[in-house]
Symmetry: C2
Subunit: 156 residues, 2 copies
């Protein structure tokens, strides 16, 4: 950990790191396919739904998800782009929360590049189906709680 990171503001007694924490967060996320993605609705409620991480191998601070273009998730992030994706490890005590801002990426090339055959279970005609939206969430902060310790990172 860099000296700069050590000097960052503390919250709840845990030292806050910066973007140098991304490889460590990526290591935590590597084995977890499904997260719960929470967003704000227009009715004031906060909603969440399970989302596949699409076998993302090396997390670099941005997460990518496919979603129905006419569904509630896409409608919500158009109004309120702030979201949090939460992850839980299968095999040990490890929880990660990644807060960020979601953006719709309307780019056929990007959709094809990130497409995986197992997504056909949900979207049989994709990636070229206009009913399928691609979302990118750029992390602004992350926090984790594991059997090897807790941490948080400011990723802005």
């Amino acid at each position: 950990m860099t000296n700069e990171a050590v000097q960052r503001t503390q919250h709840d007694g845990v030292r806050t790191q910066g973007r140098e924490a991304i490889p460590e967060i990526a290591r935590q996320l590597r084995a977890i396919d499904i997260c719960m993605l929470a967003t704000r609705g227009d009715d004031g409620e906060v909603h969440a739904r399970p989302m596949s991480n699409n076998g993302q191998v090396e997390w670099d601070g941005s997460s990518w998800f496919f979603a129905p273009a006419d569904g509630r998730l896409v409608a919500e992030i158009r109004q309120h782009p702030e979201a949090v994706a939460t992850y839980r490890a299968d095999d040990r005590f490890a929880w990660v929360a990644v807060s960020g801002r979601a953006k719709l990426v309307d780019d056929a090339e990007a959709k094809r590049e990130r497409w995986l055959p197992e997504l056909e279970r949900w979207f049989p005609n994709a990636p070229d189906d206009p009913g399928v939206a691609l979302l990118r969430i750029d992390a602004t902060a992350a926090q984790w709680w594991t059997d090897q310790g807790d941490g948080q990172a400011d990723l802005k």
Copy 2:
């Protein structure tokens, strides 16, 4: 399912039930101790943290959590009471999201009644420690995705 429930609005192709779904949701939650609780921060970010359900045996539409009175969760729900608690089963494909409104319950009797010895790991002097807050989240909606089907309920 009642006829009235069948006639409720549909979202995303899933039939919406009402409060008659509470026993079914309780059955899903029974085996899951830890959820991720997501709330809105003043900075616009959405945050989440793992929270213990305190061995809640029979969920009746309200969830109870203990939290540090001076921590970020309590500060956030004072500003924005809307929250979502997300649950994942250990042993099968089952995810549940319970949206609701959080309220601080400043009642020593209620704290003592809901206290469990294992909470001393986090709060050694509780339940009578003023540094420990008790939160009740009254569900307004729930949604679930399981290997036996998906569903949603309007719990207002």
